[in-house]
């Protein structure tokens, strides 16, 4: 089947009516979405041909990322995946049950609706923004796969995805920083954490005994500062891994 997306006018009207529909976003049923549009045409078929994989809120994020990205990694490109009309259609229509069970809660704010059901993080911009795509309930599954999947990784092409999804703070700390747009940097950081975690003589990367803060957060801040003076994009993932690994161990002293 061809995957559908919202037409522009329908998307804009739905976005502008979030406040009016605030309580409806916690409903189990999405019938209000079709009622809102009435007889007008609100969606179109894209050129993307695919079935929709099942997503279950009771599964962990890693399982859902693999379920979704495995199907769409060769069917969606980054240009298509940065279209808010596509993802908003999926969260409101095809994946309402999943989005509702996974993210909806009583008293959910307009900002939360904008980022989980649309692709706008802390903005009124209907076109969405980078972090918005990383927070949308369904888009995030594709983008986390895209930024961490490694076809040629010998053990498991999703090995870094597993680490990324092991704690919600790792994914936001790493992916919501601009340096993660360069996959070498993301892979280098995650590889360093993985190496320490796989070393039985070292404690896993987690909460620092010294500072009480997440070690990966301190690492990401350090890489950010490093990137203020140095062009991180000139480095290989191994360079970034070495810098990250050394920082993490040094930070424990």
């Amino acid at each position: 089947m061809k995957i559908k997306y919202f037409v522009e006018s329908a998307y804009v009207d739905l976005f502008d009516s979030i406040k009016d529909h605030e309580t409806l976003y916690t409903e189990k049923s999405n019938s209000w979405v079709k009622d809102f549009f009435g007889d007008r045409e609100y969606c179109k078929e894209s050129r993307i041909e695919s079935y929709l994989p099942e997503l279950k809120a009771e599964n962990d994020e890693y399982t859902n990322v693999i379920a979704f990205y495995d199907v769409f990694k060769d069917r969606l490109n980054p240009k298509q995946a940065s279209n808010p009309y596509l993802w908003s259609y999926l969260t409101h229509c095809e994946y309402w049950d999943y989005t509702n069970a996974r993210w909806a809660k009583e008293g959910m704010s307009v900002d939360t609706i904008k980022q989980r059901y649309f692709c706008s993080f802390l903005t009124n911009n209907i076109e969405g923004n980078r972090v918005g795509f990383l927070r949308n309930a369904v888009a995030r599954l594709w983008w986390m796969g895209y930024l961490s999947y490694q076809e040629n990784r010998h053990s498991n092409p999703y090995e870094l995805t597993k680490l990324l999804t092991s704690h919600s703070d790792i994914s936001s700390s790493v992916l919501e920083r601009n340096f993660s747009m360069n996959r070498n940097v993301t892979v280098g950081i995650l590889d360093a954490i993985l190496e320490i975690n796989n070393d039985p003589s070292l404690a896993e990367v987690g909460v620092s005994h010294k500072t009480g803060k997440y070690e990966w957060r301190e690492l990401c801040k350090y890489i950010n500062r490093y990137g203020a003076v140095t062009l991180l994009d000139s480095m290989t993932s191994d360079d970034i891994k070495e810098i990250s690994y050394n920082f993490l161990l040094e930070n424990r002293k």
């Binding site: 502008d16 980054p78 911009n125 360069n182 062009l231 000139s234």
Partner: protein, 298 residues
């Protein structure tokens, strides 16, 4: 990645500081970016006036690079010039990027440099103290950067409206306002007006008149905004679809808003006859209403 206001721990060649004397570095686009098959093709060149850095580039200790970024598509890459060339051809798969592509030029350390001191360094700031550079450390920032819109207006394609009429949610007391920050010019209407607009819009006969009510004055507003734009604002807005459409129309009709006094006149010329066509639409609507009234009487 904005590195315009950073105090680096070593001299950096930049037009924004005085770390170097009688030196300069910049990048330029050789020609307009184009699409070839499935790729965006960009020809970039650089110019460097600094013997010290030239020597490091020739010896392989430094590189001139182009940093490329398309944010919503999570694209961020770097490409280096060959050490003996000042021009480079860049090809990017158009499906890997979206909306716009930012280009910035840098000179970076290709390896770590233990004793970095050049005759061109400003002695008043640095004396003859040598610096230690890590691989990748920034040594130069190009004066200019480029923001290339990727969804350029195609005058042969069907033209969707450049206006978007939306319900005002942020400032509910504002009856009407305009906003140029998006790809379309947004006309914000308060809830009451927006609901009435939507109801009227359902009838095709009313659309011409409705568009004149809102789009015409906002278009005049827009033209004044464009007329008073600074060079920086022009660069910022040239990726916006509405800006491209209006600019293209102005060029097509050979209109110069900087010299014309009446933006109302220009608005009526460019889209298409927005004032005079609305009078025609109102006339037709009234005729249709009168005919409907006659039928009722009969």
């Amino acid at each position: 990645m904005n590195k315009t206001n950073i105090n680096y721990p070593h001299p950096v060649l930049s037009s924004a500081n005085e770390d170097y004397i009688q030196s300069s570095f910049d990048i330029s686009l050789v020609d307009e970016p184009s699409i070839e098959e499935n790729n965006v093709v960009i020809n970039v060149a650089y110019s460097l006036l600094c013997d010290g850095l030239q020597y490091l580039i020739a010896s392989g200790d430094a590189q001139v690079v182009i940093y490329m970024n398309s944010t919503v598509a999570e694209y961020r890459q770097m490409k280096a010039f060959d050490s003996d060339k000042t021009e480079m051809n860049i090809k990017i798969n158009r499906n890997d990027i979206n909306k716009s592509l930012q280009l910035k030029g840098y000179i970076i350390a290709a390896n770590s440099i233990k004793s970095f001191s050049l005759p061109e360094h400003n002695k008043a700031f640095f004396g003859t103290v040598p610096f230690s550079l890590r691989k990748g450390d920034i040594m130069g920032l190009a004066t200019h950067s480029f923001n290339i819109p990727l969804e350029s207006y195609d005058p042969l394609a069907d033209r969707p409206s450049i206006f978007s009429i939306r319900k005002q949610t942020q400032h509910p007391k504002e009856e009407v306002s305009s906003d140029f920050s998006g790809q379309k010019i947004t006309i914000w209407l308060n809830e009451e007006t927006h609901n009435k607009y939507r109801t009227l819009y359902a009838a095709p006969d009313t659309r011409g008149v409705l568009s004149a009510f809102f789009a015409a004055p906002v278009l005049v507003d827009t033209l004044y905004f464009m007329k008073n734009m600074t060079e920086e604002e022009k660069i910022e807005y040239e990726s916006k679809k509405w800006y491209q459409v209006i600019n293209h129309r102005l060029q097509e009709l050979k209109l110069d808003i900087s010299s014309d006094v009446s933006m109302t006149k220009i608005a009526n010329l460019i889209l298409p006859r927005i004032f005079s066509s609305s009078v025609e639409a109102l006339t037709q609507l009234c005729e249709a209403l009168l005919k409907g009234g006659e039928k009722d009487e009969n």
